[in-house]
Symmetry: C2
Subunit: 344 residues, 2 copies
């Protein structure tokens, strides 16, 4: 089959198509013919050597949707031909509260979804919601799982609450926005781009502020009528510091990243006086992934796709992701089975 094999770090140009052996399913496993994959910042972090335990060569890609084409020993043959969405995590372990030491994400060291086929445990399959194209479905897994755990499990979002999603545009933030609105929250956003704030409002956000305005916290409090009950943040730094300042009494702040660094002026005094809760969150459990997919299947929501590239153009797609200009997910479309670019 064709796969995008990474043999060298440093630049997206090292994402190159190669012909590699077809995967074979082991016991309890399936092979999925992938129709679409999606990019994640994780892929860029690996390129930039900002990720632990890098092993090369590697087939990256944590998000995928496709059709089951082979089943291993002990797997029901009824899976064959099913349209599925892939849970991106392996070996989460028995505790909902935390991942096990064995936990890892598809795409390095395990072969990922930037390939025509993938082998993975049958337990990682969820039915693709029927209303979603493969590209739309592939936009959901890793970002949606992160958003779901941060917002629903860790954030305990409730209808009627005011939620602030910072840094709108990135995959997790956009899906958190979409899920929070669906669950009845009043959602506001921040962004460095007024155009992205407009896109968020078009999706149902009640408003947003540009974080380049040094008074954005005060403006957000005024706009939202008293500040957020819940903040979903991945910026850290002054974004987290401002969240502590503007959150309501007994508010919750969930952070799943710290892309702008630590928060040296995080106001601990205000945090205890206001009875605030700060929760770190990363990825999510199999139960959460099943709940996420069920939510999308039942609601008819469509994960926003920013742009679709052919699998063969994975390098260009990653260059595009690195510009941080996107709103929603950047997706790779795989060749149709039997098309000339396939190795079949």
């Amino acid at each position: 089959m064709n796969a995008i094999v990474l043999r060298e770090l440093g630049s997206p140009d090292h994402f190159r198509m190669e012909v590699v052996p077809d995967p074979q399913p082991g016991p309890g496993e399936v092979v999925v013919d992938l129709r679409a994959a999606a990019l994640n910042h994780r892929d860029l972090f690996i390129l930039q050597r900002l990720y632990p335990g890098i092993q090369l060569p590697a087939i990256l890609g944590s998000d995928g949707a496709g059709v089951v084409s082979a089943v291993g020993e002990g797997v029901e043959e009824a899976w064959l031909g099913q349209e599925v969405l892939l849970e991106p995590g392996l070996d989460w372990g028995p505790e909902e509260a935390r991942q096990s030491p064995a936990y890892r994400i598809l795409g390095m060291p395990d072969d990922g979804t930037f390939a025509e086929r993938i082998r993975l445990p049958v337990a990682n399959l969820q039915p693709k919601p029927a209303h979603l194209t493969f590209e739309e479905a592939a936009a959901l897994p890793l970002a949606g799982l992160t958003a779901y755990r941060a917002l629903v499990t860790r954030g305990e979002v409730r209808a009627g609450e005011t939620v602030l999603v910072t840094g709108i545009g990135g995959g997790v933030a956009v899906l958190a926005l979409q899920i929070a609105i669906h669950l009845g929250a009043r959602v506001f956003v921040t962004s460095g781009s007024d155009a992205k704030i407009e896109r968020a409002v078009a999706l149902g956000a009640l408003g947003g502020v540009n974080y380049h305005d040094p008074n954005w916290g005060k403006r957000l409090v005024e706009m939202s009528g008293g500040g957020p009950d819940l903040v979903i943040d991945s910026a850290g730094g002054t974004s987290l510091e401002t969240a502590v300042r503007i959150a309501r009494m007994a508010g919750r702040i969930v952070f799943y990243g710290a892309t702008t660094g630590l928060a040296p002026n995080l106001d601990l005094y205000r945090s205890f006086f206001k009875q605030l809760t700060l929760k770190g969150s990363t990825m999510g459990s199999p139960r959460e992934f099943a709940s996420l997919v069920a939510l999308y299947a039942a609601s008819g929501l469509v994960p926003p796709v920013d742009r679709v590239f052919p699998l063969a153009e994975a390098a260009a797609a990653h260059h595009y992701l690195a510009t941080a200009g996107q709103f929603g997910k950047v997706v790779l479309r795989h060749p149709e089975p039997g098309a000339p670019s396939s190795s079949n």
Copy 2:
């Protein structure tokens, strides 16, 4: 009656005994003849002008135990003669999760317990646990309430968990230690004093480390067999930073103060990777106070009293508290009714 009236800030020497008018109960209120009060760092913060909204003159004192001597309109006469413990908060409000804007603590602006009598709402009374002396009972309210909310409500401590209480010796920390052990936790402590660690071990702590040792975090992990599930901290600074480093996966860190300042190196990356929860906590609700008193009544636990001073020596008692040498509460004993020092 006699009362310790503060007319000037800056030094404990300004705590001076004066004769002031006897309090009269309003509707829904009682007057309690106080037998004992306890000191809190809040009193020192007020002296040092480190507390918001200072109004002078003031009768400080947030903790008290005594006997009901008068009841106002609408209050059952059966309260007369009852031995009671005073809830230190007023107007918490309807939400368990947070105090209302009207919330305040006995002792400035409302007259406090450094006086022979106090007037307060009947709703602030709880029966004094029969096994406690007045001095022991007076050691419980504010510190116990803070410890209870931090440990039980916010910390959600469970039997068998490993709990780290930092800065053992202070009133809240000692009561948190005592309650955590009673609830079945494995408790470890930190202190800058080996003698205080020994005192904690005598109360049931499984061990402790001196935070002057720069490797105290590593030593605590080894000693506890993997680090704490729950940390109760009021130091902030490197104490909180170390807590993030040594907490187990999905651990909780509750902080009710930040006496050593902010935590500029708080590791946000580790916090989300480890699925940590950090919770600010302050004081507690009427429901929590009732639960605290019921726990002490049912368990036979005795709040540790470090030293007892006569009410007239409030200045000396505060000088002593300021040395931070104590383990447990510093208590004031009020004159017996009819004794020469009383204004009766």
